[in-house]
C-alpha cells in the first residue's frame, strides 16, 4: 500500500494513465500540484504564456492523436482564461481533461481571493465536471474524468480541486483504478441491426446517393472503414469541415467539403440527392443553410453516437444510434451478403456530378498576375506542394481558414485541425504547438491571419522555451478579412472596425524571440521562402505573406437559401 498526498496522487495518476504532456500555468491554488510535478519526471509540463493557449495546445494534441489533452490551471483568472479553449473543445467534441486549482474548501462561497465558481461558469461547455471533496477520491475521480472525456461522444471534462485536497501533509492510499463504472453512463457502440439493414436496403436502391460524414469519423477512428465502404459502393462523398481527411480527398468519389463555403459540386449533389447517408455529422447551420429548403428530394439515414444529435435540426428517416466504426463495419458485412446494385445504377448520377465539376473547373479563383498582390489561395496551394500534402495543418479563423480547407488536400484523418464549431480566433498557433510537441518528425503548419495571430502570439515565448518548430504562415491581408467580406456583401462595404490599423512589423517581432521570419510580397519570392521555411522541420519559421486584401471566399451559400443557392464569385451566382 502506498500513501500519497493529493498532489502526488495527481502526478502519479497522470503517469499511470500514460499522459506524457500536460499544458498549464501555475498559481496559488495549484502550487501543491506544481510541486508534485517538480518532484517527478514522467509527465512533462509545458508552460504556456496564457491559459487559453494551454487548452488549445491540449486540444491540438487531442485532435492529432485521438487521446485526451490535459490542462492544469490555477483558480480564478487561471480557470476563466481557460474557458474559451474548453468551449472550443466542447463544440468540436474533443477529449480533454482540465484540472483546475480552487481555493481551500472552507473558503468556497466567501468570495475568497482568486475564487470563481468555475464549475458553474463552464457548466454549459463541458461534457461533465467534478469537484474533489476528499483527497482519497482523487484517483477515482480522475479516472472517471479521462473515461468520460474519451468515450461516447468525446468532450472536455473539468475537475475542480480545492487547494486543501492536495495538501502535502495529508496522505492517503493510492491505487491506480484500472477501470471505473458510472451507472448512469453507458454509451452505445453497436447500432440497431434492423435499422442498419433498412439503411443498406435504401443504399442499394438509391440512384442519387451521397455520403455526408463529419468529425465523428475522425474521433471514432472510422476513416479506414468509411473509405472501404465508400469505395465498395462507388458513391460520392462529401465531408464537413470537421470531417476533412476522414476520406481521402484525392479519391474520385470525394466531392470535397460542404456547407457555407463548401464546394459547388458537394452542395449541388446534396441538394439533388435521393439518399443522404450522414455519419458522425450533426446537420449544423453552417452545413444545411435553411433547413426548410434542405435537400428536398432526399431520404436521410443518420448515424451518430449521440442520440440528441439525431433529428435535432433535420428529421432523419432512418436514425441509427451507434459508433461510426461499428455501424460502418456492420454495413459492409451486410453488403457482402447482398446482390450488388446494377453497375450502371449510378451512371446518370456521376455524369451529373462530373458536369458540375467541369462547370467550375479552373474558375475557382483568379491567380495573381505579375505585379499584382498574391492570392491567398495560391499561397495555400504552394504550401501544399512544399509539404507534399503531408503536413499537419492547423488554422486560425477567418478567410485564411476557409482557403486552407479548400486548397490544402488531405489524404488522412487527424491532419486538418481547425476550430469548426466555435470558430475561435487564436486557436491555430497553440494548437500547432500541441501537435508539434508530439510529432517532432512532422511538418506542422499553422495558417493564420494577422488578426488571429495577434490573439495568441505570446506563445512565441513558449516555442522558444520548448524548441517548438512550427511553421507559421501568416496570410496577411491587412484586415479582418472574413468580417470585411460580410461587410462588403451585407453592409455596402462599410468596413466598421474590420481593418487592422497599426500592424506590427511581424518580422521584427518574431526576430525579437530569436526566430526566423520571412516577408513575402510577390509570387517570385514565394517558392524560395517556402523552401527556406521547410528546410529544417524543427525550426520555427514565420512567413509573413502579403495577400490581396480584396479577395473573398467563394462559393458562399446565400443566407436563408437551400444548399444549392450559392455565390460563386463576386459576379456569379447559381
Amino acid at each position: 500500500m502506498e500513501l500519497l498526498s493529493g498532489a502526488d496522487m495527481i502526478a502519479r495518476f497522470l503517469k499511470d494513465e500514460g499522459v506524457e504532456h500536460i499544458y498549464g500555468y501555475p498559481g496559488g491554488a495549484a502550487l501543491h500540484i506544481y510541486d508534485a510535478l517538480f518532484r517527478q519526471d514522467s509527465v512533462k509540463h509545458i508552460l504556456v504564456r496564457h491559459e487559453q493557449a494551454a487548452t488549445h495546445a491540449a486540444d491540438g494534441y487531442a485532435r492529432a492523436t485521438g487521446k485526451p489533452g490535459v490542462v492544469l490551471v490555477t483558480s480564478g483568472p487561471g480557470a476563466t482564461n481557460a474557458v474559451t479553449g474548453i468551449a472550443t473543445a466542447y463544440m468540436d467534441s474533443i477529449p480533454m481533461v482540465v484540472l483546475c486549482g480552487q481555493v481551500m474548501s472552507h473558503l468556497i462561497g466567501e468570495d475568497a481571493f482568486q475564487e470563481t465558481d468555475i464549475v458553474g461558469v463552464t457548466r454549459p461547455v463541458v461534457k461533465h465536471s467534478f469537484s474533489i471533496k476528499h483527497p482519497s477520491e482523487i484517483p477515482e475521480v480522475l479516472k472517471k474524468a479521462f473515461y468520460l472525456a474519451a468515450t461516447g461522444r468525446p468532450g472536455p471534462v473539468l475537475v475542480d480541486i480545492p487547494k486543501d485536497m492536495t495538501s502535502p501533509t495529508e496522505r492517503y492510499e493510492y491505487v491506480y483504478p484500472k477501470k471505473v463504472k458510472i451507472r448512469s453512463y453507458n454509451p452505445v457502440t453497436r447500432g440497431h441491426t434492423g435499422q442498419i439493414k433498412k439503411a443498406v436496403d435504401m443504399m442499394l436502391k438509391a440512384r442519387r446517393p451521397v455520403f455526408y460524414t463529419g468529425g465523428g469519423i475522425i474521433t471514432g477512428r472510422a476513416s479506414e472503414a468509411l473509405t472501404d465502404l465508400v469505395q465498395r459502393l462507388g458513391f460520392p462523398i462529401t465531408t464537413t469541415l470537421m470531417g476533412i481527411g476522414g476520406f481521402p480527398q484525392g479519391d474520385r468519389c470525394s466531392l470535397g467539403w460542404l456547407g457555407m463555403h463548401g464546394s459547388y459540386e458537394a452542395n449541388m449533389a446534396m441538394h439533388h440527392a435521393d439518399l443522404i447517408i450522414a455519419i458522425g455529422a450533426r446537420f449544423d447551420d453552417r452545413v444545411t443553410n435553411n433547413t426548410s429548403k434542405f435537400c428536398p428530394t432526399a431520404k436521410i439515414v443518420h448515424v451518430d453516437i449521440d442520440p440528441s444529435s439525431i433529428s435535432k435540426t433535420v428529421r432523419a428517416d432512418v436514425p441509427i444510434v451507434g459508433a461510426a466504426g461499428s455501424v460502418i463495419d456492420e454495413m459492409i458485412s451486410l453488403l457482402q451478403d447482398r446482390e450488388p446494385a446494377s453497375p450502371d445504377a449510378l451512371t446518370e448520377w456521376w455524369k451529373t456530378i462530373d458536369d458540375w465539376r467541369a462547370e467550375r473547373e479552373g474558375k475557382l479563383y483568379e491567380p495573381s498576375k505579375p505585379g499584382e498582390a498574391l492570392k491567398p489561395q495560391e499561397v495555400i496551394e504552394a504550401v501544399y506542394r512544399a509539404t507534399r500534402g503531408e503536413a499537419f495543418v492547423t488554422t486560425d479563423v477567418g478567410q485564411h481558414q476557409m482557403f486552407a480547407a479548400q486548397y490544402y488536400k488531405f489524404a488522412k484523418p487527424n491532419r486538418f485541425i481547425t476550430s469548426g464549431g466555435l470558430g475561435t480566433m487564436g486557436f491555430g498557433f497553440p494548437a500547432a504547438m500541441g501537435v508539434k510537441l508530439n510529432f517532432p518528425q512532422d511538418d506542422v503548419v499553422c495558417f493564420t491571419g494577422e488578426g488571429s495571430f495577434q490573439m495568441m502570439m505570446q506563445e512565441l515565448s513558449t516555442c522558444k522555451q520548448f524548441d517548438v518548430g512550427v511553421k507559421i504562415v501568416n496570410l496577411n491581408n491587412q484586415s479582418l478579412g472574413m468580417v470585411r467580406q460580410w461587410q462588403d456583401l451585407n453592409y455596402k462595404s462599410r468596413h466598421a472596425h474590420s481593418y487592422m490599423e497599426s500592424l506590427p512589423d511581424f518580422a521584427k517581432l518574431i526576430e525579437a524571440y530569436g526566430f526566423t521570419a520571412i516577408k513575402v510580397t510577390t509570387f517570385a519570392e514565394l517558392e524560395p521562402a517556402l523552401e527556406r521555411a521547410f528546410a529544417d522541420t524543427n525550426e520555427l519559421v514565420f512567413l509573413d505573406i502579403y495577400v490581396d486584401p480584396f479577395e473573398h471566399v467563394y462559393p458562399m451559400q446565400v443566407p436563408l437559401g437551400s444548399m444549392r443557392d450559392m455565390l460563386l464569385s463576386k459576379t456569379e451566382r447559381t
Binding site: 464549475v119 458553474g120 457548466r123 454549459p124 461534457k127 461533465h128 465536471s129 469537484s131 468520460l148 458510472i182 451507472r183 448512469s184 453512463y185 449521440d306 442520440p307 440528441s308 433529428s311 435535432k312 428529421r315
Partner: protein, 163 residues
C-alpha cells in the same frame, strides 16, 4: 402539448443545476419543478412539467439523458399516470366569507390546516387543473398567498421508474 417528465438523478452537488441549466441553455421551458430524495439516499427524483411539440420533447428527453447525473427518466404523459400537486393557500376569512371559504374547501376536499380570526390556511392536493380551479373559486373571496409544490407524478400499474 404539456408533458410530465420524471427523472432519477444522482444525489450529487451540482446535479440539479445541470438539469435546470440545460433547460435555459437550450431554450426549453419549465412550467413546474419538484425535487426530493427517494428511498435510496443516492438518488433524487425530480419531476418537471414542460410544454412543447413532439420534436422539442424528444430533444428535451435526449439531452436530459445525456447528462451524466441523470440515471433514468420517463415521460409520464406517454402512459396512464397519476399526477399530484400540493398547494397551501391563505385566504381572507372574515364575516360571511368565513363560511364561504369553508364550504368551498369542502367541495374541493381541501383541508383548513391553520386558523386565525381573519385568515384560513387551506391545504389542497390534486392535479394542476383542480388546483387552478380552486384558486379561481377563491379569488373573489380574497387570496392572500399561494404556495404550490409543483407537479409530482407516478405511472399507474406495474410500471416502475427505478434502477
Amino acid at each position: 402539448m404539456r408533458h410530465i417528465i420524471s427523472i432519477l438523478l444522482e444525489n450529487e452537488p451540482g446535479a440539479l443545476s445541470r438539469v435546470v441549466g440545460l433547460f435555459s441553455q437550450r431554450n426549453f421551458n419549465i412550467e413546474t419543478l419538484n425535487v426530493a430524495p427517494t428511498e435510496d439516499p443516492s438518488l433524487s427524483r425530480l419531476t418537471v412539467t414542460t410544454v412543447g411539440d413532439d420534436r422539442v420533447i424528444e430533444q428535451i428527453t435526449k439531452h436530459l439523458n445525456k447528462l451524466i447525473d441523470v440515471v433514468k427518466l420517463v415521460d409520464l404523459t406517454e402512459g396512464n399516470h397519476i399526477e399530484r400537486e400540493l398547494m397551501l393557500v391563505k385566504v381572507k376569512a372574515l364575516g360571511a366569507s368565513r363560511d364561504e371559504v369553508k364550504r368551498t374547501a369542502d367541495i374541493f376536499r381541501a383541508q383548513i390546516v391553520d386558523v386565525t380570526p381573519s385568515v384560513y390556511t387551506v391545504q389542497i392536493t390534486g392535479d394542476a387543473g383542480k388546483l387552478d380551479a380552486f384558486v379561481q373559486a377563491m379569488a373573489p373571496i380574497g387570496i392572500l398567498e399561494v404556495a404550490r409544490t409543483g407537479v409530482s407524478g407516478i405511472a399507474r400499474g406495474d410500471k416502475l421508474l427505478s434502477l
